[in-house]
Symmetry: C2
Subunit: 140 residues, 2 copies
Amino acid sequence: MGKTELREVSTGNCRVLLESVPLGRLAFVHDGLPVIRPVNFTVAEDAIYLRAGRNSWADRISGQPVTFEVDGYDRADRTGWSVIVTGIATLATDIETVAGQLGNDLRSWAPPPRDRLLRIAIGRIDGRLIAHPGESGTTE
Amino acid sequence: MGKTELREVSTGNCRVLLESVPLGRLAFVHDGLPVIRPVNFTVAEDAIYLRAGRNSWADRISGQPVTFEVDGYDRADRTGWSVIVTGIATLATDIETVAGQLGNDLRSWAPPPRDRLLRIAIGRIDGRLIAHPGESGTTE
C-alpha cells in the first residue's frame, strides 16, 4: 500500500465533507461517562440538526457541550478522512417551524416517534485525512 | 422506502459486526468534555486493541472508562446497524509481545510513529439495527 501521510482539512472542505454523509456519531457526557449515539442529521447554516425520541438522551443533553463526528474511508487503500464538530446542543422548541424550513432531510431512518429536535451550534470544526503522498485524499 | 423498525442485536452478532469493519470511533471524557477519535482497531478475545501516537490522547485515558462505536449503513435503503462497546482503557506496556501475538492487523492507517498500544477491555457490548420489517437487516 505504501506510506500514508496525515493532513489537516480546510474549514471549507470540512463543511463539504460534513454534508456528504447521512450518518454521524454524537458524543456527550452522562454521569461522567462518555456516550456515543449514531444519528442521521442535516446541516443548515451554522448548526447540525437531528431527531431523537422523547424521553431519550436528547432530553438530558440540552445545554451541554457535545462532539459530533463524521468520517469516510477506503478499506482497500487504507485511507480515510474525518471531521469533528464541537458545540452546544439545545432542544428546539419550535420543531414544526424548523422542520418545515429544513424539509424532508430531517427525517431519521429510525422508526417514529422521533419527536425531539436537537440543534448543535457548530462552535468549532476540524478535519483530518490520511492519504498517500501526492494523492489528494478521498474527496479533496 | 417504507417503514423501518429498530431491533436489538444479539451479543454473538455484535461480535461478528464489530470484527467486520476496520474503523471505529473511540469516545472518552477529557476535562469534562466529550472527545471522539476515529481509529483503526483489532479485536482479540475480550478486548479491542488500537495504536496511537506518543504524547497523544492515549496517554491521558489509560485507566479511564471509554466507549467504542462501529457502524455500517445502506444510504439508499435508509437502514443500518451499530455496535457500542463500553470498557476501561489501559496502555499496554508489553507492546512488542501483544503486537507479535496480534500480527499485522494491529497496524494503523495513520503514518508512524504509533508507539502507544491501547487495550479496551470489553465490559459491555450492545447493538441495534434499523431494518425494514421482514428483512434481516444489513448483515444478520
